[in-house]
Amino acid sequence: MSSSHSIGLLSVGAAALLAANVYVRRPEAPQQVQTPPAMAVDHLKPTSTEVKAPAESGASTEGLSRGATATTSAPPAFQWATVESSDYKQYVANLRAIGFPEELIRSVIIADIDKLYAPREEALKVKPVPHDAPMDQRQSYPTAEKMERILQLREVRLEKQAVLEEILGAYVPREILRAPMSRNYEAYEYAISLLPPEKRDAAQLIQENEFVADDMQKIQYPNHADELEAYRRSYEARNQALMEILTPEEFERYEMNTTPAGTELARRVIGMEPTEAEMLAMFRVAYEYWVATGGVYGRWRASPVPPEQIAAAEQRLEAGLREALGPERYLDYQMATSDTGQQLRNLAARYELPREALAQAFELQKEAEGVAKTIARLNRGGASDLQASGNQAPLQIQLADLEQKMQQVLGANVWQAWQDGRRNQVELKP
């Protein structure tokens, strides 16, 4: 290779390397953000006036971008209008496509459809009555007009549920139909929610049909005995229908959570926080008691029963509960179902009393209340003052003794607190 040739090659190489150095060190041109074609935005933009300009809706672009680049470009490339669609299924698909979490989509669609149906529902709905309203407001007597309205409401809600399930492709619960007569409707909703999803709609319809039949029968049968017989028949029809779709275990659990024998028991024993198994064991005993004392399905003592039969049933109930729960939990049951027990539990929680002290205090207090009742009965019995004081003297000594023991168990300060607060029942609502 001649030297002139080498010089030529080296010169070209140097020029190329120089050019390469200049190229790699030049400032980077800003990368263009790919924006969707305007046509797509326009095509999907809703025609309603719902879409407002940011200024109009108090909108802010603050925080739109987490990265620095997003804040430097003026309006964001993505606009909500691209998601909007007059077709709900399309709208859901669009939300999924832009990464909306499934639960959020579900809630948004339900809220949207709820609003759509609200005017029709509101016209048929009855204002909810709080639990502390006067007794005469907590239920209303059924009339043909009211029944007609609630059936229309059910139709609207069934339609809404079908629409939602079609859009979302999954089960959507429907609010339970509330008939004029007072019932534990929340318990029915709870019990239905525990059933397998594929059985819920059918069980709900069967249950609601029974509400409707029961209330209608109150209009149809002015005579109590006839009405009770009709109630018995409609309830049996409801049981039959439920047993066709539920397993025996599901049916028993459903009954425990809906029939007053179970729901009233649940309210009375909530303080002992029973397990599911304990609740079921107690329900079985309590339902036997309910029936033995004249209960007809959901109706408390609907059939007259002699007092001795009731007394015998009460003994069996206590014995059955004691056996089902064992001594420790039976004590919890007793505390949960008495005002004294509830107040002592509250006292123990506030002053951190050990369980042993609480159990002793409960037994002593129960005994003291029994003695105090006897003294009161003697006072009311019409005996002469002299006779009454003669009978009362040993009882007063017994009462004083029990109170002294109670003071020892609780300690002086907690005893003082018990004396001060045991009868205080406050109302928190203003």
């Binding site: 010089i7 698909a93 496509a97 409707y185």
Partner: protein, 246 residues
């Protein structure tokens, strides 16, 4: 000699330029990576329409698109914020209609409280049977009612912060009292400003009652009962001033 010097000079020059090219290439590579990630963030909003377009043919396609999209690159991720006020502002920023913003924020807040609400959903024991007194000293029942009311107030406060003071969260029926209904009815005819202040007074009352309830654990002594009466009286006076004032 002259030619050999020229060749040597050119060899050195080439070597210097070649060595100088290496850091340049490295820097260039880093710039590109940074540019891509920044552009990706910016483009994540813009790319959404393409995703939406891809999803249009079928719902299944929409599902697949959502499932296959990395959370950090979706338009949703770009507008989402754990702060509901910021999330609402971001949604407004992309021209989301106000009603939809409200629905999304309400749904988002509801999801946050889902587990707590599930624990406090009405159960068979919560209903006061007809014929039974609503008064009870059973701590568990009162506690559930109180917790459900507090949760609704907490949600409402978060909603108000994000959407304005009109946002309201309904109480579960077992937690709602005649007093709550009377309060809501009393607001029906007053101005928005007054409603907002009245709601704050109500919220403040319940916050203080909750603190009192926490302290007493359901066992009320005379001093506690007196304090409760004082709170009721303060609330009543404050509401009268607001609702009857000019």
């Amino acid at each position: 000699m002259k030619r050999s010097s020229t060749i040597a000079l050119l060899v050195v020059l080439n070597a210097v330029l070649a060595v100088g090219l290496i850091p340049g290439l490295k820097q260039r590579s880093l710039q590109r990576a940074a540019g891509r990630s920044a552009a990706l963030e910016a483009a994540s909003l813009g790319a959404s329409s393409d995703l939406a377009a891809a999803a249009r043919p079928s719902r299944a396609a929409g599902r697949a698109a959502a499932a296959n999209t990395e959370p950090s690159t979706t338009p949703f991720a770009a507008v989402y914020s754990t702060d509901p006020s910021r999330f609402a502002a971001n949604l407004r920023g992309i021209q989301c209609p106000e009603e939809t913003v409200k629905d999304i924020i309400a749904a988002e807040i509801a999801l946050r409280y889902q587990a707590q609400e599930q624990a406090l959903r009405p159960k068979p024991a919560d209903h006061v049977p007809w014929g039974w007194s609503a008064r009870t000293s059973e701590g568990r029942l009162l506690e559930r009612r109180q917790e459900a009311a507090s949760l609704a107030l907490e949600k409402e406060a978060l909603m108000r912060e994000a959407l304005g003071c009109e946002a309201a969260v309904p109480l579960p029926i077992y937690a709602m009292t005649t007093s709550d209904q009377r309060f809501e009815d009393s607001l029906a005819t007053v101005s928005l400003d007054k409603r907002c202040v009245a709601r704050q007074v109500q919220e403040s009352y319940w916050t203080k009652v909750q603190a009192l309830q926490g302290r007493t654990k359901g066992f009320w002594q005379s001093d506690d009962a007196n304090e409760l009466e004082r709170l009721k009286s303060e609330r009543q006076q404050a509401l009268q001033t607001i609702l009857n004032g000019p």
